[in-house]
């Protein structure tokens, strides 16, 4: 008989799926690209492409330096997660901001939002959103005055750098066929400060099929990556097909935004506009790409639904009564903080478990 041969020992299972974290992250990167194309179409190379590239470069560089300083493997800087953070941060700033703003935001996002917590998987809140919150708190004027209207880059003479534009003028501009004004949400919010009649007229103007079409195609003021709804949906579809995205959070979030937008988002009870609520601001970007950040959202199924609904409700409350016209990113940040608790209280019923009813 032949000599006995020996082998490496290891724990079961000895089989793994071909999935990898890297692949998951790069799938998200791919899914975010159509919206980048849309952003370039709307806001130009300088307005969209440059900030995104700078932001990504800054995120990856910050990640690299952190890993280096902590003596960890620097290859993780290219695992795709820093790229995702960089893209998302840039997507959440207005197109007209100075170049260093997204760079600063990205560095903050990576260093404070991610690596300070222990790196990939350990952070409590979405780093990109924390970066954005930091920019909002530190540079409020730049972050809310940097709006440029869609297509302005192709036609600078038209000159509707619209940060100061009174909300009453918000309309579908014929020459660009776009909803302009700082953002449609700002207009919606400002309408509550007007007298009833005027405000109602503004809102009526925003709740038209023409406006919805413009919102869908991104022809409105907004952050770099949030306006191209159709292209964002295309990316989300890709993630669904690749099984990277699970439906619960986006559906619960957008459903809640629509529902509470209708219930609470208007001048009176049940007088809001559900569709407008979903199509404006960062709801679609947030619902599909930020609330769904795996690290910072619940792992249980019921938890994901609670998370989505909670974030949707907070979004609408901030939009209607908060200090900012848009509440998407703060709502997600708040729910991020609640995630460990949600996971704890939504442990699924184990197979064969009989729940005691108190």
């Amino acid at each position: 008989m032949a000599e006995a041969r020996t082998f490496q020992l290891s724990m079961s299972p000895h089989f793994g799926s071909p999935q990898s974290t890297r692949r998951v992250m790069y799938d998200v990167v791919i899914a975010l690209l159509p919206a980048l194309a849309g952003a370039v179409w709307l806001f130009g190379f300088g307005g969209a492409l440059l900030p995104v590239l700078l932001s990504v470069a800054a995120a990856v560089a910050a990640e690299f330096v952190c890993l280096r300083l902590m003596g960890r493997s620097t290859s993780a800087a290219l695992d795709g997660s820093a790229i995702v953070t960089g893209i998302l941060l840039a997507y959440n700033v207005p197109p007209g901001v100075p170049w260093w703003l997204p760079v600063l935001g990205s560095v903050f996002a990576i260093v404070v939002g991610k690596q300070a917590f222990g790196g990939l998987g350990s952070n409590l809140v979405n780093p990109a959103l924390l970066g954005r919150a930091f920019l909002m708190a530190s540079f409020p004027v730049l972050m809310t005055a940097g709006w440029s209207a869609p297509f302005e880059w192709r036609n600078p003479s038209a000159g509707f750098g619209t940060s100061g534009m009174p909300a009453a003028q918000v309309s579908t501009l014929p020459e660009a066929d776009a909803v302009t004004g700082a953002t449609p949400l700002r207009a919606w919010k400002d309408s509550f400060a007007m007298d009833d009649h005027e405000g109602a007229a503004v809102r009526e103007n925003l709740s038209t099929p023409g406006t919805y079409m413009n919102l869908l195609t991104g022809r409105r003021g907004g952050c770099i990556g949030e306006t191209s709804i159709v292209l964002l949906l295309l990316g989300a579809l890709y993630l669904f097909v690749r099984k990277v995205l699970e439906w619960r959070i986006p559906l619960a979030y957008l459903g809640a935004v629509a529902l509470f937008g209708w219930i609470l988002g208007g001048p009176g009870f049940l007088e809001g506009d559900a569709l407008f609520s979903v199509l404006t601001g960062g709801a679609v970007l947030g619902g599909f790409f930020m609330a769904t950040d795996m690290v910072t959202s619940p792992v249980t199924r019921r938890g994901r639904i609670i998370f989505g609904i909670g974030a949707g409700l907070i979004t609408i409350i901030i939009r209607r009564w908060g200090g900012y016209p848009e509440g998407c990113s703060y709502s997600i940040l708040l729910m991020n903080l609640a995630t460990p608790l949600i996971d704890r209280f939504t442990r699924p019923r184990m197979l064969g478990e009989v729940r005691k009813h108190a």
Partner: protein
């Protein structure tokens, strides 16, 4: 065909069955030296009743039953006892074995054959199944007679045969079902009689249409199961077929169900109908690391190396040698270990087939949560285990993990979830014991 039955959760590893599923079972003679483990079954090892130099005959008892959860062990060959020793085994680091030098394998039945088993009493049948040393052939090797002796007050109404064989690569049960349908069918009738159950059924995944057809022809109720891992796990099989859930911390018999592997049923048929103790079994030898994968009928005690040789020897690249399939099988340090009654397969994985052994951080993607067939939250149990928070792991239901490996399989970060969870289980059990003491 009726609708496919299934259970919640699970995953779809590559089946890799094509390597061996068409290879008819080849009976191989017992090699010159065999090592028959005295602890092939779960529970207390048999007490050796032979010593070095003794002549043994095929079917002779070489170890006697030692307690309720225990079984006798028999010699699969005629030969001489070369010694008793502690030797490495496939399912545990080491255990007591009887080394036998084989002379021949001839010989009649060890017990009186009962082709008329219908006229035997339940007690007679159960006693025979015990004396023949029949234990579960599907993996856990639990003594079969114990499962047939429910404590008073427990009424069994359902008998399910497990022909799911959901582990990748393994085809031993599949071949058994199509080549020895009659043995399985007889075993099923004997088991049903022993349990006083009408209308037993066999559950088979729908990737084995020939087996489904064979049982259909034999007039046996077949429950067709959707191909999904771990469909062959006892609780998942019960859930899929009956819709019942085995209570947490309980046993199938608590809900009136007994599950037996198809291989066990065949062993029962041999024991009762033919008077043959459990001496041999079908073993799949497969994986990219063997040259000619196949299914072999081998005597217990046959070293893995001999079966690998039957399968054309190792290929150029063998990263891992497993007893069992790649999901729950145990990695072997040496191929000198002997086949036991529970050895369903020997799988040699190439480095490409084997799972990566570098783990990344948990990105909380929840794939493990969605896939866990026990509906646990593996990622959180693992994190608590890593931080040695045993009480928290216990609260999360760590003890209900059956180590099926589905969670680690789907994890994009290749986390060693099963390892962490098992560690938590050990610590939780230890602390419960010390509290009781």
């Amino acid at each position: 065909m009726t609708r496919l039955r299934t259970f919640p959760g699970g995953a779809h590893p590559d089946e890799c069955k094509e390597l061996a599923e068409k290879r008819a079972v080849k009976r191989i003679p017992a090699p010159e030296t065999i090592r028959v483990a005295l602890c092939q079954h779960l529970g207390a090892p048999s007490t050796p009743v032979v010593k070095k130099g003794d002549k043994v005959t095929r079917g002779q008892e070489i170890g006697s039953q030692n307690g309720f959860i225990s079984l006798p062990t028999h010699s699969p060959v005629n030969g001489t006892v070369a010694g008793l020793e502690e030797a490495p085994l496939p399912h545990r680091r080491s255990g007591p074995v009887v080394v036998i030098n084989t002379e021949s394998e001839e010989g009649g039945p060890a017990f009186e054959p009962w082709p008329d088993f219908e006229s035997r009493t339940r007690a007679e049948l159960i006693e025979r199944i015990k004396l023949a040393g029949v234990c579960g052939m599907g993996g856990a090797s639990f003594p079969t007679y114990v499962k047939l002796s429910p404590p008073p007050g427990k009424k069994i109404d359902t008998l399910l045969l497990n022909g799911a064989e959901c582990e990748p690569y393994l085809t031993a049960d599949h071949r058994l079902m199509i080549e020895r349908t009659e043995d399985v069918a007889s075993g099923m009738r004997i088991l049903a009689r022993a349990l006083c159950v009408d209308d037993p059924a066999v559950g088979i995944e729908d990737n084995k249409p020939d087996a489904i057809e064979a049982f259909g022809k034999a007039g046996i109720r077949v429950e067709v199961l959707r191909v999904k891992y771990p469909q062959g796990a006892e609780k998942q099989l019960i859930k899929a077929v009956t819709g019942r859930e085995v209570p947490v911390g309980g046993l199938p018999l608590d809900i009136g169900v007994v599950v037996q592997n198809v291989g066990t049923a065949a062993a029962v048929a041999l024991a009762v109908r033919d008077g043959e103790p459990s001496l041999r079994r079908i073993v799949t030898v497969s994986g990219g690391g063997v040259r000619e994968p196949g299914n072999f009928d081998a005597a217990v005690g046959t070293p893995f190396s001999a079966l690998i040789a039957e399968a054309g020897g190792y290929g150029d690249d063998v990263a891992r040698l497993l007893s069992g399939g790649p999901m729950m099988g145990l990695a072997q340090f040496t191929d000198a270990v002997p086949v036991t009654k529970g050895t369903s397969g020997i799988v040699a994985l190439t480095s490409k087939e084997a799972r990566r052994l570098t783990e990344g951080p948990c990105i909380k993607c929840a794939r493990c949560v969605d896939a866990c067939p026990m509906k646990l939250v593996p990622c959180l149990i693992a994190v608590n285990s890593e931080h040695e928070k045993w009480a928290a792991a216990d609260e999360l239901g760590a003890l209900n993990c059956m180590a099926c490996g589905t969670c680690s399989f789907v994890c994009p970060s290749d986390r060693f979830l099963v390892h962490y969870i098992k560690r938590a289980q050990d610590m939780i059990r230890a602390s419960k014991r010390s509290k009781e003491a």
